[in-house]
């Protein structure tokens, strides 16, 4: 050991702890094709399930004839709602306090809805048999527009007839789900009435889909001898799934083991509970054999968990100098046929009330009305905390609209309205306490980095050239300063179906000084095994390379609420640091005993405890670990392990400044992102390389959403974008180069000051791209146009402004 010759800095570097761009340990298996995903799981005697789905968006199911399907050799069963009803499983509770049909119970409410579930010896037979199930439908009038749905006599949810109170209060109409109000309505309306300037606009954030590369799926395996159900699945919240399965199936929770193996991206799509899980569990219980179900791409896009679909009517009031005095928002939220939004129970519109954004807006009011339509249920947080992307898009569009009304530069308008660094912790008008921030510093850094003044001069020249007929290309500068709210969350505010949203970490140090840690979260590509080991490495002085991370097996991992809404680092990351600190506290006592001094006479030094004033007398954590197990220490139990269940005192509020420079061809609607600058402040940075990767991935998804990706329906309720030919998933070709940057404003309440970053780029990216399109056309009179900004919609803007001669 040459430990004594190394400087503390060298010893710290050897740990590859926080701040190190340690390479992702997961990639060793992923880059060799050795990952273990749900569809890689093969069990003896495994059967396969496949759904018969509705071709209609709204229809009565008159009859289902299984005979022809059952006649095929190898078909084991065909389940319908009638078969599930005796078990009480033909409907299931949703995360939003509604209920949803597992299999069509008399009618269907969206195209692609599950009608029957075929179980067969292999997936080929299952697919053939599904084709042969004869379903007789009687078509009903289709409602795809939430505004029309609220006026229509057509009743979508006949099961709720006469039910005037929903899970979130009174229902105003048979297609209405809830009204959620935040802030001070009267005060806001008074401010609007007295303001120098009020800008008003409808901001639509279209329906899209998380579309992870791996679709949803599961393998249910009921062992009839032990009575134990093992459920492998693409679950972003395995422990919550275990509890929910227990509650709805009646199986005792200790007899259920849920395992999330490697997951190929989630982005919110894998938070909810789907019919495929319920049917597979039932099928395995009935047959006594394992049953696998894996969606195909079209099923994934059509039936599991869409995102967004918010119509946000906004009013923003300001003085003539541009100081914002009030914000008003009424959102009409299209939730589809069932309210299956994945939000904390008390927040039926998620954290949409973060919609005052980065600005010091003294008075605000938000109302959200949820509406049933003939579209797929879902409403998940697609790479964002609950409805935060909608909120950020809304406020960042309203700022631009106000800038137009005031004839002001939008960068300057933002600057004069930012919450100031000395105002933190900041109480927002809609009820949040922002933990920390320094928006002005970030903003100035961003504007300087892109050469903002120069860009505006170039844009002015371009406009002149365009008007002179010298070019047909416009230049747009898209600005965004976003504030997120992530890390749900304090149990006093946040639960899902009554399950408190804490999280957990258990660490065991092995005698030779390596360790295993288990968490209540589950990585879907985020690199938890890499980054959480870094937190532990820095906290207890063992090399990250010697720490194994495990997640996703409910029989071994401590209980937690899973990974979504950027909550892993704010909540489970905090639990990891706290568990590590418990270990360090015990290690201190062991070290003092070994060094024959009082506990308070040793101090922590990177990877060891040393006697105060005598740094040459020390015990490394590795030595302490061995002693913990193998030496009798008076007053201390053997062993060195700890568990922490962390209930955060507050959310964290990451923020960032994004700037997009875009060229737009007014004749074809084609666009080209010339420059994209992303400054993120996620507090303490654990692994800069992984942060950069997260930003690249998130901005790319934002590009997709803003510039073309959508789940579109025709008036019959047919999904027009159910394949990757029409649903835009960018390839390397469409993906621009990004410049990433950062400031560091630690969270004051998080043990290591980290805030979470995985979703910031989507939250900030969408308005940056959209604002670039709007900005290009602003000099020609454009105020507001709806996403996605695909070629024809951009062309339509230009055409509407008379730019095609």
């Amino acid at each position: 050991m040459n430990d004594q010759t190394l400087t503390p800095e060298e010893r710290a570097a050897n740990l590859k702890g926080m701040g190190s761009s340690r390479k992702r340990v997961e990639d060793v298996r992923f880059t060799q094709g050795k990952g273990n995903y749900v569809d890689d799981i093969k069990l003896d005697g495994m059967l396969f399930g496949a759904f018969v789905r509705s071709p209609y968006a709204h229809a009565r199911v008159v009859s289902v004839n299984k005979e022809a399907a059952l006649a095929i050799p190898g078909v084991v069963a065909v389940l319908t709602a009638e078969d599930l009803a005796p078990l009480g499983l033909h409907w299931m509770p949703t995360l939003a306090g509604d209920k949803q049909m597992v299999l069509a119970d008399g009618k269907v409410l969206f195209q692609g809805q599950e009608v029957a579930y075929v179980v067969a010896e292999n997936r080929y037979i299952a697919a053939d048999a599904a084709e042969l199930v004869e379903v007789d439908y009687e078509e009903l009038p289709v409602l795809t527009d939430p505004f029309e749905a609220l006026k229509s006599d057509v009743v979508l949810r006949e099961d709720l007839a006469g039910q005037t109170d929903g899970a979130h209060g009174p229902r105003k109409h048979h297609n209405h789900i809830f009204t959620w109000e935040q802030g001070d309505k009267d005060a806001t309306e008074a401010v609007l009435g007295e303001a120098d300037v009020v800008a008003e606009e409808m901001v639509y954030y279209h329906r899209t889909h998380p579309c992870p590369l791996e679709t949803c799926g599961c393998v249910a395996s009921m062992d009839k001898v032990t009575g134990k159900l093992t459920l492998y699945g693409t679950f972003q919240a395995p422990h919550a799934i275990r509890t929910v399965v227990s509650l709805i199936s009646g199986l005792a929770e200790h007899n259920i083991r849920v395992i999330s193996p490697d997951i190929g991206g989630g982005f919110g799509n894998k938070v909810g509970a789907y019919a495929g899980y319920v049917c597979s569990v039932v099928a395995s219980i009935v047959t006594g054999q394992p049953v696998k179900w894996v969606e195909n791409r079209m099923e994934n896009l059509m039936s599991t968990a869409f995102a967004r679909d918010y119509w946000m009517q906004g009013k923003i009031a300001a003085t003539k100098d541009g100081k914002i005095t009030g914000l008003w928002c009424h959102t009409t939220a299209d939730h589809g046929g069932f309210d299956a939004c994945a939000d904390p129970t008390k927040f039926p519109a998620g954290f949409m009330n973060i919609c005052t954004g980065s600005y010091d807006i003294p008075t605000a009011y938000l109302a959200v009305d949820g509406v049933y339509t003939n579209k797929a249920p879902g409403g998940v947080a697609y790479r964002c905390s609950f409805r935060v992307t909608e909120a950020a898009y809304f406020i960042e569009r309203m700022i631009e609209v106000l800038a137009i009304k005031l004839n002001m530069d939008a960068a300057e308008l933002r600057r004069i309205n930012f919450i100031k660094a000395d105002q933190f912790p900041y109480q927002s008008a809609l009820g949040w306490e922002y933990d920390s921030g320094d928006y002005h510093t970030a903003w100035d850094k961003a504007l300087k980095a892109v050469g903002y003044e120069g860009l505006r001069a170039e844009q002015a020249q371009r406009i002149e050239d365009f008007r002179a007929g010298k070019t047909r290309k416009l230049l747009g500068i898209g600005l965004t300063h976003f504030t997120e709210i992530v890390g749900a969350g304090p149990v006093k505010n946040c639960d899902i179906l009554g399950l408190g949203m804490f999280d957990s970490c258990e660490i065991r140090i092995h005698p030779t000084g390596s360790a295993i840690a288990r968490l209540g979260t589950i990585s879907q590509g985020q690199g938890h095994a890499t980054t959480f080991a870094q937190i532990i490495a820095s906290e207890i002085g063992l090399p990250a390379d010697d720490i194994t991370l495990e997640e996703g097996d409910t029989d071994t991992a401590p209980y937690g609420l899973g990974t979504y809404g950027s909550r892993s680092t704010p909540v489970a990351g905090a639990a990891t640091a706290m568990a590590a600190r418990k270990i360090r506290a015990k290690a201190q006592m062991i070290a003092a005993y070994l060094l024959e001094v009082h506990d308070n006479d040793v101090e922590w030094d990177v990877d060891r405890f040393a006697v105060k004033g005598a740094p040459e007398r020390f015990k490394t954590m590795k030595e302490i670990a061995f002693a913990a197990y193998n030496q009798a220490i008076p007053g201390l139990e053997p062993g060195l392990e700890a568990v922490s269940y962390y209930d955060p005192p507050n959310m964290t509020y990451p923020f960032g400044a994004y700037i997009c420079v875009m060229e737009i061809d007014v004749d074809t609607g084609e666009w080209d992102v010339r420059q994209f600058y992303a400054l993120d402040d996620c507090g303490t940075r654990i692994n800069p390389m992984i942060i950069e990767g997260q930003v690249h991935g998130g901005v790319t998804e934002a590009l997709a959403i803003a510039m073309g990706q959508e789940i579109a329906y025709d008036e019959m309720g047919n999904v027009k974008t159910a394949t990757l030919m029409d649903f835009f998933l960018p390839t390397a070709w469409e993906t621009p180069n990004y410049t990433t940057d950062h400031t560091v404003t630690p969270s004051p309440h998080h043990p290591i000051g980290a805030k979470g970053v995985g979703e910031s780029p989507n939250v900030g990216g969408v308005p940056a791209f959209s604002n670039a399109v709007h900005d290009a056309f602003r000099p020609f009179g454009l105020v507001q146009s709806h996403m996605p900004h695909d070629h024809w919609r951009i062309w339509k803007i230009a055409n509407g402004l008379g730019m095609h001669g």
Binding site: Y124, E131, M298, D667, D726, T731, W733, H791
Partner: protein, 277 residues
């Protein structure tokens, strides 16, 4: 995404392939690269009892460059069209268009014969072949016959090819020296079909223009070609806009497609003219 069951055949020569087609009638279909057919089978929009794979038939392969004519085997891949030096010299337009077809992975497997024979109005090669005035060679139970590309397409997925015939080779006259060529395509993303695409040849007092995915067949317009030959670009564009008949889809409404068609055509003409001597 699982197709219905089918029998797989892999004949070694054209005669055997035709024999299988004769035996099974409309229950059988040939498959070349499969990039159109296999997705349709997986969606169960195409079901057939017998799939006749042409990969093992050597006669269907190879690129021959003659002084006046280029001959392409039906099973020549898009990738081979791009990497064949002699072809790039003889008819640079083919390479330029092939580079805009799908993505590299598709082009390694996708074939020129499959692209022209399937009759999908979204495919790039049919319009290109009409512009180049190519001739398709068809082999069937009654022997061989030739059909001009400009006569081949009847409607979406309907062509002059009989069910028991196989498109075996494509003959293309080598454009004279001094003829400028260009292929201009707008698409939403890599791998997409054209929103609008234009193939243009111009020079030596002659011209030929064809467009893709703007009707249920590729559109070659004699009057548009004649107008361009006379140097009348606006007349050419107007004639072509008369000839196309786009429908609204996810790529956009009719009005947009017509506008983009004109833009693509003008850009292709400009580039082709700049390459003409």
């Amino acid at each position: 995404m699982i197709p219905a069951g089918f029998e797989y055949h892999r004949p070694g020569d054209i005669a055997s392939a035709i024999g299988i087609l004769q035996e099974h009638g409309d229950e059988a279909r040939v498959i070349a690269g499969g990039h159109s057919l296999i997705p349709m089978m997986k969606l169960r929009m195409a079901e057939m009892g017998h799939l006749v794979d042409l990969q093992a038939i050597e006669e269907l392969k190879g690129i021959e460059i003659g002084a006046d004519t280029v001959s392409l085997g039906a099973m020549v891949t898009q990738h081979e069209l791009i990497t064949h030096d002699g072809l790039a010299t003889a008819i640079p337009l083919i390479r330029e268009a092939a580079l805009q077809v799908a993505d590299p992975q598709v082009r390694y497997v996708g074939t020129v014969g499959g692209n022209v024979a399937n009759g999908d109005p979204g495919n790039d090669m049919p319009g290109l072949m009409q512009c180049l005035n190519a001739t398709f060679e068809l082999s069937g139970p009654d022997g061989r016959r030739s059909v001009a590309a400009r006569e081949f397409y009847e409607a979406a997925y309907f062509t002059a090819r009989d069910d028991e015939e196989i498109l075996t080779r494509i003959s293309i006259p080598v454009p004279g020296a001094g003829v400028g060529q260009a292929y201009e395509k707008q698409k939403r993303k890599i791998g997409d079909y054209a929103t609008a695409a234009a193939a243009v040849m111009v020079g030596n007092g002659q011209a030929s223009v064809a467009m893709t995915n703007l009707a249920d067949t590729p559109v070659w317009s004699e009057s548009a070609s004649n107008a361009l030959a006379d140097g009348d670009v606006s007349g050419c564009v107007a004639a072509m806009l008369d000839a196309i008949d786009p429908v609204a889809d996810n790529r956009g409404p009719v009005e947009f497609k017509k506008h983009v068609a004109a833009v693509m055509l003008r850009r292709a003409i400009e580039r082709a003219q700049s390459r003409a001597d």
